[in-house]
Symmetry: C2
Subunit: 476 residues, 2 copies
């Protein structure tokens, strides 16, 4: 442990589940089950005054009865008893807590009296807690899956804060489907005590976290949020989806997590000044986080290699709109490609190979992309199932086709060692082995051409932000 | 047949495949295979001067040797012989053709001499053709799958023109995954003869087509395009993704299909005047087409029913941004819901049921949505796998859970008889039975909250367009 208080939450030696239950329909049953199934190896203490054993574990009537230290208490009791439970946690010397229980600030116009009260008890007792009204936490290094819902995050380098449990779980699930791994996750709920700015502050210090993701509906301490973000973005990227930007959204946010959203204008200004990457769509949270596993582009020039003309046009258009330049390949590369492609190939950027079915041409194009001194590469098609199926239909054996395509992926992976590469598969939801191979090697594979370009654009945006810091003498 | 020339193309009694091949790697083999496998029941004449039998069918040396009438010729020969082939088609009296062959206008600066020549021969001989440089056509009523790629479109009521084969195939595939069915599809390629305006004109006349979808990179006859669109949109919606809007995009389009793209400004103006629905992302083509299977909303007021607070906030925000109003439910409905939901439910719109695990509450909410005199409903979560898994984890039997959820879908289907309903599933790529059931009953199921709202917005947009026609005395 580095001695940070939040290490008790994300790397606890012991966890108490207060409100643990035998009835499978209760959240107090499922959260305990997910902790056990997640492989957590520390001590687990179910707390319930009416039971003796739950899921094979000895039950204690109260935390006060637990003979050992408790690093983390997960509280799943009815709202009414939460203040008493928090008092007992303080008395027992529990370090941190996650308050799942609902019905606090979100049920009134913002912070409720009960919420103020538990925050005060905790503050005075030196207990820090997440929630209330949250879905739990996940920590890869502790194998801790203290989540209400049975979602299994992949382990990785992204740490994620979500003020919405719903959006948190959905984002973990989408991450799973795109092979995006998480280091830590917290459903931060109403944030009566710990706020998103505290988690960002903590995640910055952890070397296992390489980028930070957040869904926020409002910020409790705007000043601290600004300062922490400014300190963090020079070290690792922060990607945020900010909701509650409109009147209807703010009203919904208030009855959701009791947050007072800030105006879009204010948030956009803060994001710009601190270099936070803004996600405009919920799906972009995962899409952008996937891209930040790639090296940053040195400039705003990109090569587009497409196996389909239409996607080439769409992406060229978008690059142009975003100010990403698509210079033509040097003459020597054009001449080299003339030798191997049909005469009607595009002879420019996008490099449209007019869907040649000759795999050696694809290898040669990747080779030329390595030779080309260009900032980065967007590859459209050619990485997934689509052309594999076509090759098999052409009469080649599935084994040979897969082998060839896996070798092509090796070349793309090699290409990405030198410059950032993002790819797009033709088939939606493609999870074929070639796609998995790229993802396992940190190359993002998207399912729409727009997703690929938007993500690439954010890499450039972040690079420009870091450059601007150097320019103005900011030291990391 | 209604006597329209294009009936020969989309409902032919006989098809010749010129350039049919025995070698499975040739497009002349796969396109013939797909026609046969698609179940086409008319006569098929493979044409190849060097073969006697291909895929079990008698081969003719030239169309001139075919003893019967040919309604449609699919031409897959090398570019060099296409003019001769077209001449022979004219001599034989072939009615229509689809020219797959590439290397025409897209290989030069726009229309090539060879392309002009085949267009002239056809024009003089009364032959109409699609292409060159295209991927083929599909027609549900003819069971005709004359496509290079082995994609199997679902049958339905959308007819689709794509100037890009690549985007055409990808869109059919995405349609398939979302249970969106197609009536006719044409990969229109370079449009040396028939242009997208001709297909729109034809699709308008066909009652089996209820909406028209198009991907375009440029329009040959802008005046005709405008007139045809203006005549069509009062009868059925046209949804278009227009690319080649920037300089880089136009350059790419030119080497792709030889099109000269129009400026974004001009196209936006045309779209607005003609009431064409604009898709801004390639995925929106399918997403919007899915929505147009619902009745149009009577106004711009919508009820949001969400099983997750975060998505409720996101959608409330977006509705506000798009000018869609989210009025609170009437007091009697609030009171009714107070009786069945936890005290901290949202008591407003979005109706956030705070993820109650009591299915009877969900039935009651759908019931209240039926009673509520509101323009339409967006349902977030509760339609797919997510809560089914949770219920099973809670200890209920899978059979009972599925039965209950299928019944809930019946209620949602009933709700949609009275007002438009769009839904969003929590899990991405969810294809569980409940999702399929909704889709089979024309209710779109999306995978992101934004997709749902954007699609709903387009329903309102189209309704407003139709209203404006009535207002200014336009008669259908």
């Amino acid at each position: 442990m580095t001695g940070h208080k939040l290490d008790y939450m994300f790397d606890p030696d012991s966890v108490a589940v207060i409100g643990a239950s035998k009835s499978p329909e209760k959240w107090g049953a499922s959260i305990l089950k997910h902790i056990i199934e997640g492989g957590y190896e520390g001590d687990i203490y179910p707390i319930n005054p009416h039971e003796e054993k739950i899921q094979g574990l000895e039950v204690y009537q109260s935390v006060l009865d637990v003979p050992n230290d408790i690093d983390l208490a997960v509280i799943v009791t009815p709202k009414e008893v939460v203040p008493t439970v928090i008092e007992e946690c303080v008395d027992e010397g529990v370090e941190t807590a996650v308050v799942i229980s609902s019905g606090f600030g979100e049920a009134s116009d913002g912070r409720s009296e009960a919420e103020e009260r538990i925050a005060e008890i905790a503050r005075e007792g030196g207990l820090r807690f997440a929630g209330p009204n949250c879905m739990g936490i996940f920590s890869a290094r502790a194998d801790l899956r203290a989540l209400m819902i049975d979602v299994i995050p992949k382990e990785g380098n992204v740490s994620f804060i979500s003020q919405s449990g719903n959006l948190g779980i959905q984002t973990l699930d989408r991450g799973y489907m795109n092979n995006l791994g998480f280091d830590m996750f917290v459903s931060s709920g109403n944030e009566a005590d710990l706020g998103c700015e505290d988690y960002i502050d903590y995640f910055r210090e952890k070397s296992s976290t390489e980028s930070i993701l957040a869904y926020i509906e409002g910020v409790k301490d705007g000043d601290k949020f600004f300062k922490v973000s400014k300190k963090t973005t020079p070290v690792k990227p922060i990607i945020i989806y900010n909701s509650g930007e409109t009147e209807a959204g703010r009203k919904a946010a208030q009855s959701h997590t009791g947050k007072m959203g800030g105006s879009k204008k204010i948030f956009d200004g803060v994001f710009k000044q601190t270099g936070i990457i803004k996600a405009e769509l919920t799906d972009e949270m995962v899409e952008y986080a996937m891209a930040f596993n790639q090296p940053l582009p040195r400039d705003n020039e990109v090569a587009i290699y497409t196996r389909g003309g239409g996607w080439g046009v769409v992406v060229a258009d978008l690059c142009n709109k975003y100010g990403i330049k698509t210079p033509d390949p040097p003459e020597r590369i054009l001449k080299k490609l003339d030798e191997i492609l049909p005469f009607y190939w595009s002879r420019g950027n996008p490099i449209d190979d007019v869907a040649t079915t000759d795999p050696s041409a694809q290898f040669e194009i990747i080779e030329q992309l390595k030779e080309w001194d260009i900032g980065g590469v967007i590859i459209l098609g050619g990485v997934g199932r689509f052309w594999i199926d076509r090759a098999i239909e052409s009469g080649y054996s599935e084994d040979l086709v897969m082998e060839t395509h896996m070798e092509l992926m090796d070349e793309i992976i090699e290409l990405s060692e030198d410059k950032p590469v993002v790819t797009v598969a033709f088939k939606a939801f493609d999870e074929t082995d070639t796609v998995k191979k790229l993802r396992n090697n940190k190359i993002p594979v998207y399912y729409s051409p727009e997703s690929g370009v938007k993500a690439y654009r954010k890499l450039i945006e972040y690079k420009n932000f870091l450059d601007s810091l150097e320019k103005y003498g900011h030291s990391k």
